[in-house]
């Protein structure tokens, strides 16, 4: 993507965030400019088109994952801006923070096997009609890495039905052949859900890390298309 750079993005940094630089590198590769790094104590969010809540262990995850960060001053700003239409992407711990902050439905529980797991997984794209996924096609199989101990998505049956009916599932865990379910689900997530949108499809949270396979030297670049999509959509 070489869209000049009309897109402005911010990465929110909490104490304990550790994928902030990684996602900034991926954003810069697609945007052609560095995103702003915004410290959690800042009470004002600069005017941006996209805020990314990165992975890591905000506040050590010593309470419930993401629970502390969700109550930090900057998240109030993120919520307000999101209500006004700013796009928000939460990756891994960022996804947990967005659910805790109420920007996304559901919760992320301890993995079914109770252990941290770091490996590549295959995902099936469930909805390509969003700003995050316009360079994918519904049904595409992409490969992103996961690295989490609490990625087991859960929602009550009513919420799940809403999510499904409203096209809010972004990605589901699948095999290399695109077959969803069974052993391909690495953490026990309900309905094999790896990532979901809010009802307006302006906020995306996902456990897998698109920024970790956004460079062929790292073994793949499926993740780059998500950042390219955002740049294209928001330019």
């Amino acid at each position: 993507m070489t869209k000049g750079c009309s897109v402005k993005a911010a990465v929110i940094v909490f104490p304990g965030s550790n994928c902030d630089r990684d996602v900034a590198v991926a954003l810069e590769a697609s945007m052609g400019a560095k995103p702003l790094m915004v410290w959690h104590r800042d009470t004002e969010l600069p005017k941006v088109d996209l805020a990314v809540v990165p992975g890591g262990f905000s506040y050590g995850d010593y309470l419930r994952c993401g629970a502390m960060a969700a109550h930090s001053p900057i998240m109030r700003e993120v919520k307000d801006a999101a209500a006004r239409g700013m796009r928000v992407l939460g990756i891994c711990n960022g996804f947990q923070i967005l659910t805790e902050a109420g920007l996304l439905p559901g919760v992320l529980m301890r993995n079914r096997q109770l252990k941290f797991v770091c490996r590549d997984v295959h995902l099936r794209v469930d909805n390509d009609r969003t700003d995050f996924c316009r360079y994918y096609r519904t049904g595409d199989v992409v490969r992103f890495p996961i690295a989490h101990a609490e990625g087991n998505f859960f929602a009550d049956s009513h919420t799940l039905r809403e999510i499904e009916d409203n096209g809010q599932v972004a990605f589901r865990y699948c095999g290399a052949d695109g077959k969803v379910g069974g052993d391909a689900n690495p953490n026990g997530s309900l309905a094999d859900i790896a990532g979901i949108y809010n009802s307006r499809h302006t906020v995306l949270g996902l456990m897998p890390h698109p920024e970790r396979l956004a460079d062929d030297q790292l073994g793949g670049a499926d993740g780059k298309l998500m950042f390219d999509s955002l740049v294209e959509a928001l330019s």
Binding site: P15, G16, N18, C19, R21, D22, V25, A26, G55, G56, F57, Y59, G60, D61, Y62, K115, F116, V117, C118, R119, P145, A147, H209, E211, R212, D215, Q217, L218, G219
Partner: protein
């Protein structure tokens, strides 16, 4: 302060009677309890290296690219463009046995601090683990706890754990080994050292508060275990990786300014060793008011404060006038910051608590003039060479299936999938290869890292074993295309007061030193862990080598996985079929006898140069060094790693018995996958380097075939991948 120093108290502090006499001579009086405690940790084996110092001095430690050798927190090498790599390996064996999760976690925390203390951002963690017999009742619990601890700490801190090793042997039943290594990246002109300078400069404490945990950890790590060792659990520290992450960021932020004169982490022996080391290296004295130390608990005595091993703490000397700047950085990261003392010109450490002097000790005799022993030693008897003809020949495919599923060779995926090995976005070779490779962020350079040692060779012949450990590290780095630059060592042995154990130390160091010299692969940092014994039974001698190499251009890197069908498989090096001390002998025949395979260092160097040249020129599709298990296991590993399960058809020569050819562990060998079209030029290059090269077969099909025997690669993968998860899941009978 009124505790009377009785002979019992002296013995509890680990002093031999002559050592106590030495204390009396230094002080000219009897020490009080605080002073005695300080002496005990400073003179512990762990802090003073008193048994090994004499022999460590024989290791080569210099090269034009070495910026800092042993003696600082970590070693430093130059990687060009104004950049430096800072690295070290350190053991946390004793605590990990007593409390596996926290023991291993704090091992990672400690080694990370050693590296970022010097101004480097940690970019990769590695580890070398040894556990007891899988069927021993404690082993599974220890594996689970250690792996969770390493992951729990490293994952949270956000430094990728990119590789390591994990093996099992009954000699580790009572003493597991947890050796952790960190590699960091620094600006060559912004390295920080620990020597204090500037009389009157403030001594500053930052990080976590001090609690009562870990008191006497260094002393515990300097004694054998007995049946009461589990009662030592309170001496194990508790880790807080979140605070460590903040401490890394805060220290690196402050290091970008000119506020710091000297900095030292509080590791083993906590505030005691950090303050003594800084003052001693600077030739100064220090006065500390212990009332100002941030504390977690009320009523801590001077003794407890000085001996606490609470984690995530650092000590710094600041430039005068920079206190406010520094305080602001630590406030931002919500970490404690306290000026606790000043540097003095007295050459003494004077500690006060509640307004009274509680210790007044001369610094040099404690820090630099600690005891040094020339312990008696005996070299082990040489073992006879095992002839291939005297080894029972099993059907090669059945033997291969047994070997790829044996605990030492079985896939360690169950372990490394619990480590975040990709965070920081520069891991270009993930765990499971010959060496892990991480890019130097924002450049085309990359760092290759490996940890190696073959303890069964060291047991059989510590001199050959020491040479082999270094040579294998050299090979593993060369096999990905990296130029080997330097090593860190972690010397794990039993009780050095026994001449046969001391003989292992001496001989292993002699072998390592020789290999490091001949391969231009100096030792820049290290750690010694002795007394790995329980009730008189020692571990196998385990001098772990952590090797670091440089790829000038990451795009030339290769992996071990077969890439295409129809390639020639080229073997570099001679195969005589050395079965003594081999895994075949142990796993198939139940024998651990024989002399280990010898290493030919001059050939090793030539072969390494050839391999790196071929890889650098883009002539090699895959490369793998031949080590544990021998040639057929190495071929199987290349096939199992290939994305498409590409197999191989092998043509063994008639001159060597089949089993010996397949499973002999002759040293100094590499396997190359080479396209047919360039085979001639590869063989020619080998000839120019006077390296024996032979085409031993071709890639292709979905099976490994050798003289009419064959096995599908998929079956090998199942055997290789299933042992550890099944074992950890409690699904294996007899385990």
């Amino acid at each position: 302060m009124s505790t009377t120093i009785t002979p019992e108290i002296i013995a509890q502090h680990g002093f031999k009677p002559d050592e106590y006499q030495r204390i009396l001579a230094i002080l000219g009086r009897a020490p009080n309890i605080t002073e005695l405690g300080i002496f005990s940790v400073m003179w512990s084996e762990h802090c003073s290296y008193k048994s090994s110092k004499k022999w460590l001095k024989t290791l080569p430690t210099t090269a034009p690219w070495v910026l800092c050798g042993p003696g600082e927190n970590a070693g430093i090498i130059d990687i060009g463009d104004g950049q430096a790599v800072v690295f070290k390996m350190e053991s946390h064996n004793h605590p990990s046995f007593i409390e596996p999760y926290q023991g291993a976690a704090t091992g990672v925390g400690g080694i990370l601090r050693d590296v970022f203390t010097m101004g480097a951002r940690p970019i990769a963690n590695m580890n070398a683990l040894r556990f007891g017999d899988p069927s021993h009742p404690k082993t599974r619990h220890l594996v689970a706890g250690v792996v969770a601890g390493i992951g729990g700490y490293g994952n949270c801190v956000g430094v990728p754990t990119v590789g390591g090793s994990c093996e099992f042997h009954p000699s580790y039943n009572g003493n597991i080994l947890v050796n952790a290594m960190t590699v960091g990246l620094a600006d060559k002109n912004r390295i920080f050292y620990s020597a204090a300078a500037g009389i009157g400069n403030p001594v500053v404490y930052v990080g976590s508060k001090t609690g009562r945990d870990g008191i006497h950890g260094a002393t515990m790590a300097s004694a054998e275990f007995d049946e009461k060792s589990e009662e030592k659990r309170p001496t194990v520290q508790v880790g807080d990786p979140f605070t460590e992450k903040l401490l890394i960021e805060a220290c690196l932020e402050l290091m970008a300014t000119d506020a710091i004169v000297a900095i030292q982490d509080m590791g083993a022996a906590g505030l005691t060793s950090s303050s003594f080391e800084m003052a001693s290296k600077g030739g100064l004295g220090v006065a500390i008011d212990l009332d100002l130390v941030p504390m977690r608990e009320e009523g801590m005595s001077a003794y407890e404060i000085m001996l606490s091993e609470s984690q995530e703490r650092m000590l710094m000397v600041l430039q005068p006038g920079k206190e406010d700047l520094a305080r602001a950085v630590f406030d931002k990261w919500e970490l404690d910051f306290a000026i606790i003392g000043r540097l003095t010109d007295s050459g003494r450490m004077v500690l006060t608590r509640f307004g009274e002097v509680v210790a007044d000790l001369p610094i040099d005799p404690l820090a630099q003039a600690s005891p040094e022993y020339d312990r008696p030693w005996v070299a082990p008897a040489k073992r006879p060479v095992v002839e291939a003809a005297d080894v029972e020949p099993f059907e090669p495919i059945a033997a291969l299936l047994t070997l790829v599923a044996c605990p030492d060779l079985a896939s360690k995926r169950w372990i490394w999938e619990q480590y975040d090995h990709m965070v920081m976005g520069d891991t270009v070779q993930r765990p499971g290869g010959d060496a892990a490779v991480v890019r130097v962020h924002g450049t085309k350079k990359a760092i290759a890292i490996t940890t190696d040692v073959t303890p069964r060779y060291c047991q059989a012949d510590p001199y050959e074993g020491g040479r082999q450990a270094v040579a294998e590290a050299y090979r593993n780095l060369s096999a990905v295309g990296a130029l080997p630059l330097a090593v860190t060592d972690n010397l794990n042995f039993g009780n050095p007061e026994k001449p046969e154990i001391m003989g292992q130390v001496v001989e292993a160091l002699r072998g390592m030193g020789q290999a490091c010299r001949e391969l231009d692969f100096p030792v820049v940092s290290g750690n010694v862990s002795l007394y790995n014994e329980t009730q008189g039974a020692a571990i196998l001698p385990t001098p772990t080598i952590g090797g670091v190499g440089l790829l000038a251009d990451v795009t030339t890197m290769v992996t071990l996985a077969f890439k295409a069908a129809g390639s020639a498989i080229v073997l570099l090096g001679e195969t005589k079929g050395w079965l003594g001390c081999s895994l075949y002998l142990r796993e198939l025949c139940g024998r651990e006898d024989g002399a280990p395979p010898p290493v030919m260092l001059h050939r090793e160097r030539r072969k390494g140069e050839l391999v790196r040249q071929l890889i650098g020129d883009g002539l090699v599709r895959a490369c793998h060094d031949v080590s544990d298990g021998g040639l057929l296991v190495a071929v199987a590993e290349m096939a199992m790693a290939s994305a498409d399960g590409i197999g191989a058809v092998l043509e063994p020569p008639a001159a060597v018995p089949l089993i010996a050819w397949c499973f002999g562990e002759d040293q100094g060998r590499y396997l190359l996958e080479v396209g047919e079209d360039i085979l001639a030029s590869v063989l020619e290059a080998a000839q120019e380097h006077s390296v024996t090269a032979r085409v031993i077969g071709k890639t292709g099909g979905q099976a490994i075939q050798v003289q009419g025997h064959e096995v599908p690669v998929a079956d090998l993968k199942v055997a290789n991948e299933s042992w550890l998860p099944k074992y950890m899941g409690g699904e294996l009978a007899g385990h």
